[in-house]
Amino acid sequence: MRRSKGSVLVALAIAGTLGALAYPVVYSYPNRNAAADAAAAALQGETVTTQWGPLTPADKDLIIRVRLAGLWELPAGQQALERATSPAMKEAANHLIVGHNDLDKRVRIIAAKLGVTLPNQPNADQQGWLDQMTAASDAEYPQVWAQLLRSAHGKIFPAIATVRNQTRNTLVRQLASDANQTVLDHITILEKTGAVDFEEIANGSVSGTASPSGPPPPVPGQLAPSAPAARPSTNPDVQSTPSPTTPGLIPTGRPDPEELNDDQGEPAVAGQ
């Protein structure tokens, strides 16, 4: 009897194990696909047609994120003008204020044209970052300030590039180009404060699809075979100039956006 009880237990355990192994295959996989399909459909479903081309949820998301960036980075920039401990930090705060005033003006014009409702308050994350900056002691302020801002700019930077590639909307396309210049300028100028922890940025942004190996790493002490210059085989008559400028400088000069009217909402910071 004791032995047969043991067999029953073993049989139950085996049945349970097999059941647990089979569960994801027979039951939960179809649901998982359904969730992904629903997410894809939601993205497709909300695309609206405008005279400037289709406006997708990803386009709207960029418009809102550019607005939100202004809403928290302008106060962060102003705060740093008062608490800055170095000229480099003041310079960075200056770029943030000028850059986000400009982008905010552009994004309000575009949102009014496209009928996108803009937020007027930073989101909870951003308010938390402002609180962290306010609470930071004078000694830790430069690191806290630069790191929070550099991290936020680094996250939006590839997202801007994705929208710049995919959008079919001419207004969003121009906004993405302008935001690319401003954000790369801010990233560069924040790094110049010397207060950015690059290792923390790297660890905070690795994705699950990072290549396990990539091209082979260099072998220490071993010279790589020299690579001949890639140049035209003919001698074409070319006039343009290369895009990169002085290292550390990102050109952000561009014509002012058209004037605002009453439909275009309140500026992110009054009097700026």
């Binding site: 073993v10 590839p158 590039a161 790297a202 660890n203 690795v206 085989s233």
Partner: protein
Amino acid sequence: MRRINGSLIASLALVVTVGALAFPVWSYADRSGTGQANMSASMVNTKWGPLTASDRDLIERVRLAGLWELPAAEMAMKKSNSAAVKEAADHLIVGHEDLDKRVRTVATQMGITLPNQPNAQQQGWLQQMQAAQGDEFDKTWANLLRSAHGKIFPAIGAVRNQTQNTLVRQLASDTNQTVLDHITVLEKTGAVDFDAIANGTI
């Protein structure tokens, strides 16, 4: 004896099963394939900071871009009748000669071996361009190039954000500026099919 053998087999099977079930839990901690583990596994140190697989990948891709886009641009100078296409080709030649110089300097400094031939896919694009004539050439040319620039653009942004290497950081900034210029000037040809770009069907 037979029963003992049966129990033994059943117990062994249970132990193996439980072991197999528990194994992934144990291996999750630093499972290979997670971004973090991959980043550390592929990283080497240089005097300009750590150099990761994605850093090296960007360096290689910038070199490859020059290797196929320079012949592509020269082809447009010869074959196209459109002033806008020739203007775009002008930017591609100037931009990629400049970037190629920068990437070779970076690769030499860090001892990275660069490819000297376009990859198979890029050679296929060049053949497609060779085969196309007239208006069809302009369309094929602009869309293949716009699509390739659009794909690398977010990848440059990701590397610009997360690299810990000062040489790669500057290269990513320079590449970002050049690629955005090329995307913009290619779109000015009026030959880019934005639906196909959005749907990824080029």
